[in-house]
Symmetry: D2
Subunit: 345 residues, 4 copies
Amino acid sequence: MQHFASDNYAGICPEALNYLIECNSSGHEAAYGDDTWTQKVCDRIRNLFETDCEVFFVFNGTAANSLALASLCQPYQSVICHELAHIETDECGGPEFFSNGSKLLVARGENGKLTPDAIEQIVTRRSDIHFPKPRAVSLTQATEVGTIYSVEEVRAIAAIAKRRHLAVHMDGARFANAVATLGVHPSEITWRAGVDVLCFGGTKNGLPVGEAVVFFDRKMAEDFAYRVKQAGQLASKMRFISSPWLGLLENDVWLRNARHANAMARLLRDRIVDIPGVSLMFEPQANAVFANLPIAAANALRGKGWKFYDFIGAGGCRLMCAWDTTPETVESFASALRELCTATA
Amino acid sequence: MQHFASDNYAGICPEALNYLIECNSSGHEAAYGDDTWTQKVCDRIRNLFETDCEVFFVFNGTAANSLALASLCQPYQSVICHELAHIETDECGGPEFFSNGSKLLVARGENGKLTPDAIEQIVTRRSDIHFPKPRAVSLTQATEVGTIYSVEEVRAIAAIAKRRHLAVHMDGARFANAVATLGVHPSEITWRAGVDVLCFGGTKNGLPVGEAVVFFDRKMAEDFAYRVKQAGQLASKMRFISSPWLGLLENDVWLRNARHANAMARLLRDRIVDIPGVSLMFEPQANAVFANLPIAAANALRGKGWKFYDFIGAGGCRLMCAWDTTPETVESFASALRELCTATA
Amino acid sequence: MQHFASDNYAGICPEALNYLIECNSSGHEAAYGDDTWTQKVCDRIRNLFETDCEVFFVFNGTAANSLALASLCQPYQSVICHELAHIETDECGGPEFFSNGSKLLVARGENGKLTPDAIEQIVTRRSDIHFPKPRAVSLTQATEVGTIYSVEEVRAIAAIAKRRHLAVHMDGARFANAVATLGVHPSEITWRAGVDVLCFGGTKNGLPVGEAVVFFDRKMAEDFAYRVKQAGQLASKMRFISSPWLGLLENDVWLRNARHANAMARLLRDRIVDIPGVSLMFEPQANAVFANLPIAAANALRGKGWKFYDFIGAGGCRLMCAWDTTPETVESFASALRELCTATA
Amino acid sequence: MQHFASDNYAGICPEALNYLIECNSSGHEAAYGDDTWTQKVCDRIRNLFETDCEVFFVFNGTAANSLALASLCQPYQSVICHELAHIETDECGGPEFFSNGSKLLVARGENGKLTPDAIEQIVTRRSDIHFPKPRAVSLTQATEVGTIYSVEEVRAIAAIAKRRHLAVHMDGARFANAVATLGVHPSEITWRAGVDVLCFGGTKNGLPVGEAVVFFDRKMAEDFAYRVKQAGQLASKMRFISSPWLGLLENDVWLRNARHANAMARLLRDRIVDIPGVSLMFEPQANAVFANLPIAAANALRGKGWKFYDFIGAGGCRLMCAWDTTPETVESFASALRELCTATA
């Protein structure tokens, strides 16, 4: 399959699969997370973040984000997010469903990123009971357009949030890719910068299924286990969700996978940036390249079997790299594109 | 681990694991179910039931049951179920959460089973708008107490349901165990008997994670994919949820696994039924034995490391067998129990 | 209209109507409760209860109870109530809808009343996350069967509730009738006995529409105004909901109305208790008589145009008196019943 | 009170109050809408619209709109509305709460109005299950900025809606004002133009409390009574909500009230349009004038006790007239404004 369609098209990375298999060969274990594997992974995540956080595993990103936000917000409260945030554009109303009505208040911002000013403007716009009271800010790291919040940007947002009594949620479906690019300790871009809850994505990074919800503020995690259970997100054979994380966390495989995906995106950018008719929409900082391709070329690529998504209007394409995207795939795509564009020009 | 605690303590059966591994080695595949593996499993399930049913995969039983019921009921409608039904006693309000308020109306009944009369009584008790209108009947097959509805029983219930315009939902977390015992074709106990939606359990039968929701009435499945997505139950790498089903479905492994578990329960029953102080609570028909054990003996067994659940009041114990429970485990438990009870007596 | 069907069949008492009319003649006023009338009524209620409680007005009892409970409970938590409680039997799933899934856990108890033991039993039955965690106790005062909790009974329940970290909610649709019978200060049976939130009924007591939600624990009222707004319970012309309360609260009209209704029920009881074939189901303490009537007599009464409700099985009838039920109506009903029963006997 | 703040500040019009009083003097009546008054009003509304529509009464506009939309949409579906629609800006997430998550998809449009093109663009933008499927269009008539959809405009929108299988909801909080301006039969701008459900506002038009939900498509009204009950919107003493409508509907008082309010807005417009520094934001077609006032003048007016709302940014003011706003109030405000502006200029 030739594609830059999604990092979800990739399989399980070997290290994760090995742990899944090993875990299965270890005999019976208690259900619902009362097993040694899950305990071990939770400890590993606490070590990774160098803090005594609360860790929960749920099945996917929709659930991770929606449950985290539902635990922060009452139905009459609201969440501030970027207009391109996944929770706004691609969860089919999941956050509103899990929270029973919490409204998402969207802001604009360059490069898919919220700014302190945009947040401040939304928070101060209304203070009457006819409008849902903002209660949380949600950041996507890396963003939906392949950009990354710097530590300073997260801190500045968290400061405004604190002042306005807003909790800070980070949608980290591609958190690994952000950390890999930033080159900082994972704690620096999360709790040390003021993040309260992180949805730590594993699936796009090489797991079969499952994301971690990490509460840095333990108080916010109160009764979260009940919420997870009621919402159909408690795995009975939890160890098969948790144990593969060991493969990611040992020897920094999660960062290695992310660095590779990021590098492939960078390579792809370099190979196509000077092709006539091609223009970058955003400077890639994570594992995706967003570029305007000539429509004829895009169609021709699809005709040749290449898969990728349109994004924001005519010509805009999202080219997403995975933990196992090969340089050959990149070169092959870039060559095909260059040929098509040159022929046209 | 010595236990009869739960069939969720067991691991992945080899056939399922093999397909998971094979699926992973097949390269990239489209996400969200648009892959060849998922397509193949859906077709296999349609073949199994000999009808053109709609098949969806979700992550666990809470979600399967709750989403199926939410698709049948509006918030002001209600579901009739047995007072011991899992959806009533062990989903932490999941059905009410997913449906935004559909009430469960509980009925009593011998051996954990609903009867047509009990349903009729509930349906006809109230017809005013101050009470939620019954819209569905939910049967658990096998029941929470290890018993099984016969084909005739399901048919009789479905007939009343039809007359009263109630949809028929079957919670089949242990559907395999029921079919194994009944020795009928799976269609006989489902759509041919009047069942509209089956939550077909795979996890307890040897899968790592995931249940199938099977709509025999395709019209009822309209837009169910949206519901699944919004509720955080759509797997991005769906093939890892679906492909292991191939291992269960090929060569009737699902039935072999179930027959084995049932046989172990039967063996356990036979080994303990005549122990002084021990009495069966229900005649085991599936993979669980419910028995009253002398409290001292139960405690002593626990002291020796045996795990099992209490059930309904003092002395009542649930002894659950899995697809890989060994005869040795059964014999070992029975011997220990016999010794303890004989010593006491 | 000849009836003992419901205290909702009665109209607006003159004192309440006068205030409605006076309020309307006072010119324009701010909307949504920012008016002088609403402020005045809230102060009056604070004076009545001799404490600085928070007061909100909503449109009816379903909303008052459901919103109060939703503010106490998260969706995965539960409410303990009597199996005959209005919130369980006559709100069409309202509490589950407003709370997005909080389950009602029902207990039995003599005379329609919860007991500390019953509550303790429910609270201690389960402590796992598969069952919704009890978070509140709901008492109905007066109960659905016309009985009344004594101050001691409420105190004993509140003590258990406190120990188990349960909030105490009182459904006071007929709170006036209870206070009238008990002859205690309204604070004695509410916050001084440990009640956290009272739904103070006005409609059955002579108002056109509207109930008060009184939070004795002001902290529990945080953001309740938002909840009321979102749930469609904020009156734009609030003064027409609030001002009629002045008519009830001045000169203790609310107690006078309740005493009259109670007296009529007592008179009715006295007139029918010795009729052959008639038996009391409960000793009436508020404004309703629950009695078993000979079925033929009940049917004959209905044939003569009398309206009243069946209650719990064959022969059980609810005879409800209102603030303006006349002694003549009581005598007329009793005579007709006596005649019918005597003729039959 | 000197104000152009809200038509909700006005009281009950005499004709409505008279019916409320008359209704109260007519003795006991059945509850929950089974009374002769409610029956009569429903028939009157059916006559008014010249069709056999289903009519329900609820307590306020938030509930009317939210319940109507919840009956049209499942949680994973969405509603298309203008970005200034009341349901988007002033219901505190009510529609999302009642529907358990249906998202509002907002469109821009001149004069506060949706266009067929804007709807078409939203409907066709996405067709994947990651985005909530549009199911309804909601029009506000008159709009939030005091403009009015012509019959042709409604028809054109309804045609697109029909083609795209969207139900058409009309938020008619100020429906009377729209009909008064358009001078058409109420059926022309509703069902004859393709509207499926109308929330027919009464409160702003002279009632104390209560709006009518009118289903022109009777099939859509199925079980709506249950929905109303569960959501806490069923009045026990319904006749006091319904009977005042007779006062509005007899002799076209509803249109007279609306015409007067509209005329006052027109007068106000004429008196201020040529004041230096004042500019109209929209040409008033209903009972509100939206104008930019010099900030100093606006503040000075407030200092003199005038109340009115800011609207959309600095200087934008909403001046709302009610059924009983007097010409003297208009002249007094206009004079004060002219004086302030002239002094400044």
